[in-house]
């Protein structure tokens, strides 16, 4: 088993995405730390925990969706059919 290595768990530097939003991993976003200086401080989260939070979110959404129907019909598929039908 691999032990915890700080270097492997330290998030990469943030790159600005929009006014007030930064990103460190693809498709995941954070509030710009500059906006979290007065009332709430940002915490550094190790990479494994960051991924766990993002993955759990998707897991939860699929779990919830599954409560409602057996299958999902994608609009892209129907739009393609409509295109083909002209």
């Amino acid at each position: 088993m691999l032990g915890f290595r700080l270097s492997a768990q330290t998030p990469p530097p943030a790159r600005p995405v929009t006014d007030g939003v930064v990103s460190r991993f693809e498709h995941t976003y954070e509030v710009d730390p500059a906006l979290m200086t007065e009332h709430v401080r940002q915490q550094q989260i190790p990479n494994w925990d960051f991924r766990r939070i993002v993955d759990s979110r998707w897991e939860h959404l699929h779990w919830m969706r599954d409560h409602f129907a057996d299958q999902v019909i994608a609009a892209s598929e129907l739009l393609a059919e409509l295109e083909a039908e002209g």
């Binding site: 939003v21 007065e38 009332h39 999902v72 994608a74 609009a75």
Partner: protein, 500 residues
């Protein structure tokens, strides 16, 4: 601090509910003082109950209510405690009847397609069991994982897929209720437990739905069973202006597609808010200023055919399809996305811990653009005066049962930094709520489509909205609850006793 109940009353409660069903400790009482709606946290102690009971049968509830009548102690029914109009918040202390332990599935009637449950069951848990039989109880509020059947009835709740399946009042076939004097009766359409339509006598079912616990405590409910949907479809469309989105919302709603569960319209402030903190909206192009979403459920072939018709209508609008990931992921997030950010922005853009609150109303389709402008102006004024509020935007959602057209559940979401409450900011908030309600009425709407209207601010307008109907409400309350036991102080119904 509320005066403690006399020991002899607590002993009587223990004799009824057993020692494991009666709580007088601080955590049991304080945790049941509030709901998620903005709460005067600086006046917490005004709202704590004197005792909490967790009964397990209608007979126990009845005996607690009779005891309350004997001693003149108010009774507050509480289910999930997620109601947004303070229905489950004690206004006069008293005995809080928490129905959470009455959470059993009592009977599934396969032949007549009903399920009978205790009021403490939650829809998510109920549906997990029903799924095994191919059934679905389609009451789907955003609070689906946490609100309970008793509270849904107490509120007359609104469901996200109500345009397809109806709302709580349409989905509850009949129920048992303990009246404010302790008698146990059953109401429905007529007398039959599973009768869907009767012309026999007064339509009492509707009287006992949505009264916010002022007319009794539901102890058992027989609910509609729909076939579990084979398929789900959801699609989101972006617009560069609100009016284009408003037009498509109307067009989709009037489409007549039977599988359509609902259509929702996000306004520019909502998109601006989501663009700040929501991974689906942050990457959206600046030109995206409003969004329309729709969702359908049912048999796969019917959903597919209906969805194609919806997409044809959308293609003819100015909107652009936003892609499968957001269309599906955003719909799947409908139970928590708008409620749980737990933070907002101060005027200078700094992040602060804020809780979510939404003001809801029912607004006719044609009035949505005007109401939107007025509501945001009210929020903006509040923000200018107190650096503890944040406008999180508005949405409008189809409100009809089994049809999508007509009026819309309209909400403005406001972030509130609750640890900053003062008497002054609380008073300003209550005034703003009243103004929001007044605008709804001026535009031909109702004060509320789903939450109820018994909180400070909105409740003052209930007599204005209902007119002579409010006089009838008072007469009914007096007749059914002669000692004003049941949820005392709610809906201005204390007036019924002042005018003796």
């Amino acid at each position: 601090m509320a005066i403690a109940l006399e020991g002899s009353v607590v002993d009587e409660l223990i004799a009824i509910c057993g020692p494991e069903g009666v709580f007088t400790g601080r955590s049991a009482l304080f945790n049941r003082a509030r709901v998620p709606a903005p709460f005067p946290a600086h006046r917490w102690e005004d709202h704590i109950p004197q005792a909490v009971v967790l009964p397990t049968s209608a007979e126990q509830v009845s005996e607690v209510v009779k005891l309350a009548n004997r001693h003149g102690i108010p009774v507050v029914p509480r289910a999930g405690g997620t109601g947004l109009t303070d229905g489950a918040v004690p206004l006069n202390h008293g005995i809080l009847v928490d129905v959470k332990l009455m959470n059993r599935i009592i009977e599934i009637d396969h032949g007549n397609r009903t399920v009978t449950v205790g009021p403490g069951i939650n829809m998510l848990k109920l549906n997990e069991e029903l799924r095994r039989h191919g059934y679905f109880y389609p009451d789907d509020p955003a609070s689906y994982p946490c609100s309970l059947v008793g509270g849904r009835i107490g509120t007359s709740g609104w469901s996200l897929i109500g345009a397809r399946y109806g709302h709580t009042r349409d989905l509850v076939v009949s129920f048992e209720i303990v009246l404010p004097t302790g008698e146990i009766i059953r109401v429905g359409d007529g007398g039959g437990r599973s009768t869907r339509k009767s012309s026999s006598g007064f339509q009492l079912k509707h009287l006992f739905i949505g009264h916010q616990g002022t007319l009794g405590i539901v102890t058992e409910a027989t609910l509609e069973l729909a076939p579990r949907p084979e398929a789900e479809f959801s699609a989101f469309f972006s617009f560069s202006d609100y009016m284009g989105a408003h037009r498509l919302t109307g067009d989709l709603s009037r489409s007549g597609v039977a599988t359509l569960g609902g259509v929702v319209l996000f306004d520019e402030m909502k998109i601006a808010y989501l663009r700040r903190d929501d991974e689906a909206y942050i990457p959206q192009d600046e030109s995206v200023r409003a969004v329309v979403a729709c969702a359908s459920y049912g048999n796969a072939d019917e959903v597919r055919a209906g969805a194609k018709r919806l997409l044809r209508i959308a293609r003819a609008s100015d909107g652009s399809y936003m892609g499968d990931e957001i269309s599906q992921g955003d719909w799947w997030s409908r139970h928590d996305r708008y409620a749980t950010p737990q933070h907002g922005r101060t005027r200078d853009g700094q992040v602060a811990l804020m809780s979510w609150h939404c003001e809801d109303a029912a607004i006719p389709y044609t009035e949505l653009p005007a109401v939107r402008e007025k509501w945001h102006a009210i929020a903006s004024d509040l923000i200018q005066r107190f650096d503890m509020f944040d406008d999180w935007g508005m949405f409008a959602y189809t409100n009809g049962a089994h049809k999508a057209w007509g009026d819309y559940l309209t909400e403005i979401d406001i972030g509130i930094w609750e640890s900053r409450w003062t008497d002054e900011s609380w008073a300003a908030w209550v005034d703003a709520k009243r103004e929001i309600g007044r605008v709804a009425l001026e535009h031909g709407g109702s004060l509320t489509a789903c939450h109820g209207s018994c909180r400070a601010g909105e409740v003052d307008l209930v007599p204005v909205e209902l007119g002579g109907g409010f006089e009838v409400m008072k007469k009914i309350k007096r007749a059914l609850d002669p000692n004003n036991i049941m949820n005392r102080g709610k809906y201005l119904l204390d007036q019924a006793y002042e005018e003796e």
